[in-house]
């Protein structure tokens, strides 16, 4: 489904990445802060353009040439959920849906499911500029999932949240990735978060290079570098 092989020059090093990810699969992208993980997601999302290589998602060629952002069937959630402050929570969540889609029963049911599961009912009419950081993450998650994208990219979306909320959000994401069938690539510098979110497969980046890929059991059993060993030590 996702076929990505590309390089991206950064000021300090070059990020080289390659991945083939099947439909409905999830991948944890792990490494220390500044290893190039966010750059990888930004290139796949289209926020940044790779310097070389190719990215295909199902039948769509994302790069090269760069496919315009509005044609990319991708959900992208970052640490800062970037809600539209001039709109209500409801309007943020339905932002990417056309009028016809909003009127459609199936879509309406799906939005109602998101609203209930993410406990958004009390906030529904509130301005997005007036809600707390934790609430904003839930709204951002609902907005991303409202269009049911086939690929979801998560760039440390749980940083700074309390453990209980993180656990709930991870459970929701895992549940929906199975029920909707979207693929998922998640970035985090905390291995325990990634192991819960993407339990099967992980790629480890150091200085922009892939140093190891495999199951979490393989990574924990035989870490390829001293840095990875130290990152996994707390587990």
């Amino acid at each position: 489904m996702l076929d990505a092989h590309f390089t991206k020059r950064r000021r300090d090093f070059t990020v080289s990445f390659s991945l083939e990810l099947g439909s409905g699969e999830s991948l944890g992208l792990f490494g220390a802060s500044g290893a190039g993980k966010s750059t990888v997601l930004a290139c796949i999302a289209g926020i940044e353009d790779p310097d070389d290589g190719h990215i295909h998602l199902a039948d769509a060629r994302l790069f090269p040439p760069p496919l315009p952002l509005h044609r990319r069937p991708i959900g992208y959630l970052t640490q800062e959920p970037s809600l539209f402050p001039h709109l209500s929570v409801r309007d943020n969540i339905t932002f990417g849906l056309s009028k016809a889609e909003q009127a459609d029963t199936e879509h309406a049911d799906w939005i109602a499911t998101l609203k209930n599961r993410l406990k958004l009912a009390p906030l529904w009419s509130a301005p997005a500029s007036r809600i707390s950081g934790g609430q904003a993450r839930r709204v951002g998650l609902a907005r991303m999932l409202a269009r049911r994208p086939p690929l979801v990219l998560l760039d440390e979306p749980f940083a700074g949240l309390d453990r209980q909320l993180v656990r709930e959000l991870i459970d929701d994401l895992v549940f929906w990735s199975k029920s909707i069938g979207f693929s998922m690539i998640a970035v985090d510098h905390r291995a325990d978060v990634l192991m819960r979110l993407c339990p099967r497969m992980a790629i480890v980046l150091e200085q922009g290079q892939i140093v190891q890929r495999g199951s979490w059991a393989e990574l924990c059993g035989a870490p390829a570098t001293p840095l990875l060993r130290s990152l996994l030590a707390p587990l």
Binding site: A45, G46, I47, P68, L69, H70, R72, I74, G75, Y76, T78, E80, S82, F84, P85, H86, F95, G96, R143, R147
Partner: protein, 257 residues
């Protein structure tokens, strides 16, 4: 800052603010009864109509042409942006009288565009089109540079998120960029409005007729003296000041919120 020094700083700021507001006290100066006879009133009211209608038309042109240019400049590389900003600064920095003379020459029989216009029977002096176009020249730079700053203030990540949610660039502009920049755009427009409606130096050369308020004030001052100027001056201030003042206060309030 200690309490004593803070008090002194506040007193200093208050003195400067008072000094800046002091000229407004002249509205209550004892210069005798204000003159508002038919001889003064009719051209004065005509000048109010001319200023309001023609400046409004000029502002529509400024917004329609200036907003897309500002949107383009806001997306440019910093090098290219410098070129556009340098070009927009020229009409701002030109002394108004010099701009009026250059405008008259360029759009008159000595200029290429002027000859072309004459060929089609369009004169660009002492008429409404000359008035409007002069105001557009005078105000455009102020509006576009202000609009670029307003558009720059919208976080680019919001626009990218909107695009990733399936919105085309045009829809991103109308649903995200414009609503978030609207107060900044209003401030830019209000500055352009004040600059255009108060323009004298350039307009007195290009469009002495139809006379707008600044030209009529000057004519009244020359012909009848201060008492004949005061009523139109009050109208002039009422038209020029409140809108931009309100836009600025609102913008400040929002940025302080």
């Amino acid at each position: 800052m200690s309490e004593g020094r803070s008090w002194m700083a506040r007193a200093g700021a208050a003195l400067l603010a008072l000094a800046l507001l002091y000229p407004l006290s002249a509205l209550f100066a004892r210069i005798g009864a204000w003159q508002w006879s038919a001889q003064v009133r009719e051209p004065a009211l005509a000048s109010v109509r001319v200023s309001l209608v023609l400046t409004a038309i000029a502002m529509v042109i400024v917004v329609v042409l200036g907003t897309p240019m500002a949107a383009y400049i806001a997306r440019c590389s910093s090098k290219e942006r410098l070129v556009w900003q340098a070009a927009l600064l020229v009409p701002i920095l030109l002394p108004p009288l010099a701009l009026g003379i250059l405008f008259t020459l360029a759009f008159g029989p000595f200029g290429g565009v002027g000859r072309l216009l004459q060929h089609y029977g369009v004169a660009m002096t002492n008429n409404a089109p000359a008035f409007v176009v002069t105001q557009v020249y005078v105000a455009m730079g102020y509006y576009v540079l202000g609009a670029v700053a307003a558009l720059d203030a919208v976080p680019s990540m919001l626009q990218k998120q909107a695009a990733l949610l399936g919105l085309t660039p045009a829809r991103v502009f109308f649903r995200v960029t414009l609503p978030l920049a609207r107060l900044g755009l209003a401030v830019a427009l209000s500055i352009a409005w004040v600059r255009a409606v108060g323009e004298f130096g350039a307009v007195v050369v290009t469009a002495y007729y139809p006379s707008g308020m600044p030209v009529q004030l000057w004519v009244d001052l020359q012909s009848y003296g201060l008492p004949a100027v005061m009523p139109l001056l009050v109208i002039f201030l009422a038209v020029a000041l409140p809108l931009p003042w309100l836009a600025h206060v609102l913008a400040q309030r929002r940025s302080n919120a």
